[in-house]
């Protein structure tokens, strides 16, 4: 009957083994992640290039960053990866209850990170740092916003997995789906480590322009 599997593409409709022994969906996710590296790489390059270009407003600079606050939200996001690992382990051993707890915790931690980002943006805007202030602020908002969009998509997918599990339509037979979404989630976390380092941990210099 309506035991529709949560597949992201049609290949699982064909049941033969693949040449590499890896599912098409997983290989596709890895390929997509390879491409995503270039998306983020291009944005990070633009940010580093415009570091210190304050458009005549040197007070709008990395001095505004609240490093302890962002460190906490970074920690929250990284812990969500742990939740993802535990959720996958739970569904692989058929522990539906454990899966629901951990997948929801992961989504929650992701949401806390997003809330932190919204808070941070609001605060920056109140300080006068907007999208249109300088090349530096444009690059900052577009880079972190692009990452925030990725986290949002991830949270939506995690919540969907939770809802499917609650209605009994996601079982240990679909552990590979959880694993693929997990790959995406871990990538979004790992790329944040790079972004966090590039944005918050590199000591800032005084205005050059």
């Amino acid at each position: 009957m309506a035991d529709a599997s949560v597949t992201t593409a049609g290949a699982s409709e064909q049941s033969h083994a693949t040449s590499l022994g890896l599912s098409n969906e997983k290989l596709g996710m890895w390929t997509l992640i390879g491409s995503e590296c270039l998306f983020f790489g291009a944005l990070i390059s633009a940010y580093l290039m415009y570091y210190g270009r304050y458009n005549g407003q040197p007070e709008i600079s990395p001095a505004l960053y609240d490093i302890p606050f962002t460190s906490v939200s970074t920690f929250v996001l990284l812990m969500s990866s742990l939740g993802m690992v535990l959720a996958l382990a739970a569904i692989q051993r058929g522990d539906d209850r454990g899966f629901r707890i951990w997948i929801l915790s992961t989504a929650l931690l992701g949401s806390v990170f997003l809330a932190g980002q919204i808070y941070e943006f609001t605060w920056f805007v109140e300080e006068g740092m907007t999208l249109t202030t300088s090349p530096f602020t444009s690059a900052f908002y577009v880079l972190t916003g692009f990452h925030g969009m990725h986290v949002t998509v991830g949270v939506l997918m995690l919540v969907t997995l939770w809802a499917r599990s609650m209605t009994g339509r996601l079982t240990s037979a679909h552990a590979d789906v959880v694993e693929n979404i997990g790959l995406y989630w871990h990538f979004v976390d790992i790329v944040w480590i790079v972004i966090f380092t590039a944005i918050y941990l590199i000591p800032y210099e005084q205005a050059t322009g």
């Binding site: 035991d3 529709a4 992201t8 390929t31 491409s35």
Partner: protein, 654 residues
């Protein structure tokens, strides 16, 4: 074997957007997940845009035929040359590659379809949506007019004033005098339209990479794959890594234009050369993305009609991989004139000379394949040989660009225009036409007319060389590209007039090609499975192939598998022809293979694509209208993707 028993259930419950099942009729084309149908649609769409961009080029040539012409206004001229370039690159070149690879790669590796059939449909519909979006400028403030590489700050500084934009009335531009808003609209079209097109290419790349890695028939090791498939594989990787770079550049451009950010605005301390770096970091791999399908086609056509295996298969594979890597290290040779300094200029000059080496390896491999072969000079082979010759000329003028002082002299002259038309028209278009004559019998089951084909070749060769060969001289005589007219006393008038005649010869020749295709579809003689006595798996199945490609998945034991099936080793060690029917597994066509499990059609790829231009058009409005339109587009696209993820297969839907 791949066959699994079909479900026995037959009762179906009607449901909103229930999974479609039809394999014929108009709707089957809108919902298809069959890589062959999608390949055909890609081809037809690419040919449509080829004709559109060709007509644009003819209008440009009419304007330039005589000095001080007033046939086109400068404003219209700018839009036409921009759209000629954008259309040819993004809506002809890339989709032609998608068309050939989509149709052929699964057949050549013995697969029934690509890895993600619905994603494949999605790619095609998104590409169509991007084309419609780009040309929707005709109904708004006009088409993009900043050149296909659309340098900042020309593309950003005129006009963008989002605060004023939402309140002021959208005043149209007078003759030659562009209002900021019109300019902004045109650049938004460019930045958003190409982002949408990029999504399509990216999805194709992911799909084909996974297909090649995972869907090969038993025994089809990587080094037994037909070279067309190998080149398509590398092509996919280049698309996979190049599209994000232009994607982000366009994303930033979009923010600059619409939301007044400062990515490329020098007045705010930003560096407009960043756009050039990002554009060409995409743009140079892109020229290899454009030419690779032609390389693949040549590597199939030349061995078949030289009656020899491809000379240096391994060298060809590694040369392709080498180009795939080196293609990332040469981008700044498009930017010597920006003043990067002697070290950067020297480095990019050297890498540009290096990349000619693997390309040269390919040329020599094709020559080596023809050397001593029994050449069969039909239309497909003539076009293939024409490609080798014309591409070599284009490649050599490319090497002259790598010499920096020489480059300074030629930058932005017609010499550059001549160069890239020799590699793209002489390479990509000639190569693609060779592929059309070669695979047309497989796709339609009928042969194309040979006499028309040869006439097509010779007229195109003559028209092409008149048009673009003479541009070398114009360039060296100092005629800049992208000027809408020129004074009578510069000495450019006579050549320009002859070039315009050449352009119309090309147009006539392309009309012959289209006519040949249309007429042959009905009148052509029946082709049979293997009309060319070819070597690769696609010729093993019927023409046109059944929707499941192969009744039984072929077992592969050699490179040039089909050739080996047609030949056996005699006592003296020579290969001898096996009589027809002597092959160990004859392909049967008559049975109905009901037990083969094929991906079902789906509405969702089309639906997901429809939302994208709606989101794009939202950016042309402001305030609440923009939010609402964005939301409508997002609901359509993401709703369709959501439905897609949970779509049951046709049997499960009962």
């Amino acid at each position: 074997m791949t066959a699994v028993p079909a479900s026995t259930s037959t009762r179906s419950v009607p449901k909103l957007l229930s999974r479609p099942r039809a394999q014929t009729g108009m709707w089957s084309w809108f919902t298809t997940t069959d890589h062959k149908k999608i390949g055909i649609m890609y081809f037809v769409a690419a040919m449509f845009f080829f004709v559109v961009a060709g007509i644009e080029a003819l209008l440009l040539r009419v304007q330039l035929a005589v000095p001080e012409n007033t046939f086109l206004s400068p404003e219209v001229y700018n839009q036409l040359f921009t759209m000629h370039g954008v259309t040819m690159v993004f809506f002809v070149g890339i989709p032609l590659g998608s068309a050939f690879f989509n149709y052929l790669m699964p057949l050549q590796i013995g697969a029934r379809d690509v890895a993600f059939p619905r994603l494949n449909g999605f790619s095609f519909w998104v590409f169509c949506a991007a084309g419609i979006f780009m040309y929707s400028g005709l109904l708004m403030g006009g088409l993009p007019d900043g050149g296909w590489f659309n340098y900042a700050p020309l593309s950003t500084t005129v006009g963008p004033d989002p605060s004023g934009y939402t309140t002021a009335a959208a005043a149209g531009g007078g003759a030659g005098e562009l209002s900021g808003q019109v300019h902004m609209q045109r650049m938004l079209l460019y930045s958003v339209g190409l982002q949408i097109a990029g999504i399509a290419s990216l999805a194709t790349a992911v799909n084909l990479i996974v297909t090649v890695l995972n869907m090969r028939a038993p025994g089809m090791t990587l080094m037994r794959m037909p070279i067309m498939t190998w080149i398509g594989f590398i092509w996919s990787f280049m698309v996979l890594f190049a599209m994000p770079v232009i994607g982000i550049a366009l994303w930033e451009l979009m923010f600059d234009i619409r939301f007044d950010t400062h990515f490329f605005n020098p007045a705010a301390g930003a560096d407009p050369v960043l756009w050039q770096h990002m554009f060409w970091l995409f743009g140079h791999p892109e020229v290899y993305i454009l030419i690779f399908p032609a390389f693949g086609i040549l590597s199939e056509v030349i061995p078949t009609f030289a009656r020899k295996p491809l000379f240096g298969y391994t060298a060809m594979v590694f040369a392709t991989i080498a180009i795939g890597f080196l293609g990332w290290g040469v981008w700044a040779h498009h930017m010597f004139a920006t003043g990067m300094g002697p070290i950067a200029n020297t480095a990019f000059s050297l890498t540009t000379m290096f990349i000619a080496v693997p390309t040269g390896v390919k040329i020599f491999n094709w020559l080596g394949t023809m050397w001593g072969g029994k050449l069969k000079l039909n239309a497909a082979m003539l076009f293939a040989i024409g490609t080798v010759a014309m591409f070599t000329i284009g490649g050599l003028s490319g090497v002259t660009h790598s010499v920096v002082p020489h480059n300074y002299q030629q930058t932005d002259t017609y010499y550059v225009v001549a160069h890239f038309h020799y590699v793209l028209f002489g390479g990509l278009v000639f190569g693609a036409i060779a592929g059309m004559y070669y695979w047309y019998p497989k796709v339609t089951g009928r042969m194309m007319n040979e006499r028309l084909g040869k006439l097509n070749f010779w007229t195109l060769l003559v028209g092409f060389n008149i048009t673009f060969g003479l541009m070398h001289f114009l360039g060296l005589w100092g005629m800049p590209r992208r000027i809408d007219t020129y004074a009578a006393g510069f000495g450019w008038a006579r050549l320009n007039y002859i070039i315009t005649i050449g352009a119309f010869i090309i147009a006539g020749s392309v009309a012959l090609l289209v006519l040949n295709m249309l007429v042959s579809a009905f009148r052509g003689e029946r082709a049979g499975d293997d009309p060319w006595d070819a070597r690769t798996l696609e010729w093993m199945t019927s023409s046109p192939p059944p929707h499941y490609n192969f009744p039984e998945t072929p077992q592969v034991s050699a490179r040039d598998e089909l050739w080996h099936r047609k030949h056996a080793v005699a006592h003296n060690g020579d290969y001898v022809r096996v009589p027809a029917g002597g092959s160990d597994d004859t392909v049967t066509h008559d049975e109905e293979h009901a037990d083969i499990h094929m991906p079902d059609p789906s509405f969702f790829p089309l639906l997901a694509a429809i939302g994208m231009p709606i989101m794009g058009w939202a950016l042309f409005t402001g305030g609440a209208t923009m939010i609402v339109t964005l939301a409508i587009g997002a609901v359509i696209t993401f709703g369709a993707l959501f439905g897609w993820a949970f779509e049951p297969s046709a049997e499960e839907a009962h």
